[in-house]
Amino acid sequence: MNKVVVASATMTPFTDHYDRDIRDLASEAIRDIFRKTEIERSAVDGLVIGSMASMSFTNQGNLGALIASENNLNSASFTVEAGEASGQAALRAAYSLIKSGMHETVLVLGLEKVTDIVKLPEILSVVNHVNMDSRWEADIGLTLASSWAMIAKSHMSQYGITREQIASVAVKNHYNATFNPFAQFKSKLRIETILRAPALASPLTLFDTCAAADGAAAVLLTTEEKAKSFTDQYIHVKGTGLAHGTLRIAERDRLYSIPAIKKAAKDAYEMAGISPSDIDVAEVHDSFTIAELIALEEMGIFEPGQSGPATEDGRTKKDGDRPINTSGGMKARGYPFGAAGIAQVVEIYEQLLGIAGERQVADANIGVTQALAGTGGTSVVHVFGTA
């Protein structure tokens, strides 16, 4: 069967694009794909949009039809939504469209225009209701932040990790982002700044999570055979996994664990024929600092309870031995929901091809992306390789 490859990748800066709407962001990402890639528009026969809540944020649906026709693409299109994991779920859908032989070349466009809603509590309401059990947790008064706070408490108590270790995720991701020209925040962050920031939900503060951002990210999926006809700059999609857990945090037996991540990773690794020790670089879900620590443990990159100390020790910095979120992650690169899962692939694409500039990790042959909706409703994992 066809081998599926990523043959081009790009993104807009992730920030508050007050002067751009959702169409502008999409057009700019698509423009860059065609500038970077020697392929005709007419050759792109599929377009999958990963977007979390375009009706809620911008009052426009059917983005597939809109973006295909506005950008002169002759591409069959639909939107994939899986909460905060929408971008990575769209990638999985696009992979299947090519693997099935239905399409040869599919553009996967992650897209979110968030900041037209100016008031943060209104944005929070959308994010909570998309990703949580809306009737039985969001409508009851829980927020994603409060859910993550209770998870953080459980993780600290189970493994004895410290508040500073949790904060060190943000410090590390801000450090990594200083090398990323497309990042929202390119300034370093100190542990003290995080701990002294306004409280969000004890023990977490505002600096344990992301700011609102807009953006688009695009990757071009095609067969290896087709890719060879126009580029030698491609990487392989080697594995994909998607799994679920209950949306209600109250029903989780062990709050410090997120089974959906473990299952999605296991499926993706098996398909790719790799083990966690083979991973050279990974982009993982860090909407909240604690999320990254748990992801690394569920993905088998560190033993349970060890990701906090490892992060504090600098092992996950771009120049550490297990580089994680070299892009700066959602925390510092920026987090326009549906776009973020595709931006993860953009980073892995550059890392595996050795074109990540100052962020480049040595000898990167296997890269992994991991996304999460809410605190564990959906997780998606993809494995990429140079061969």
Partner: protein
């Protein structure tokens, strides 16, 4: 949340009405109409005790827009006597008083107001036993 939805949710929201599968005896809260374990839709109603203990909690300092009127407030996971765990707001409790393991009981309180009509939604919260 719409008016029809609120009406449908009255029994579980007002008095913790659960459903129980007549085949496998599993209790569902939030209630279900169909038991996904045995595909049975003969589920009977039963009210939960409303008594339990606090498993974990935190303070919401940045509420979503619906709950902004409350200012900071506590939320937590409550394990009911029946063994069922639910999420809830914890009320009538001071900073120095709230702790994991504390006993709690059902309280009936305002959730939020919404829509042109300004309809106010009510439902369960939990408080220390009186």
């Amino acid at each position: 949340m719409s008016i029809a939805d609120y009406w449908r949710l009255e029994a579980p929201r007002f008095r913790l009405e659960a459903t129980k599968c007549t085949n496998c005896d599993k209790i569902y809260f939030p209630p279900k109409r169909v038991c996904p374990i045995c595909n049975n839709d003969e589920l009977i109603h039963m009210d939960l005790s409303g008594r339990g203990r606090l498993i974990t909690f935190t303070k919401v300092e940045k509420p979503a827009v619906e709950f902004e009127y409350m200012g900071p407030y506590y939320v937590g996971i409550v394990e009911l006597e029946e063994g069922i765990r639910i999420s809830a707001s914890i009320v009538d409790v001071a900073e120095e008083q709230i702790k994991e393991g504390m006993p709690l009981e059902l309280a009936f309180r305002k959730y939020y107001a919404i829509g042109d009509e300004g309809i106010v939604y009510y439902g369960y919260k939990f408080r220390p036993p009186l």
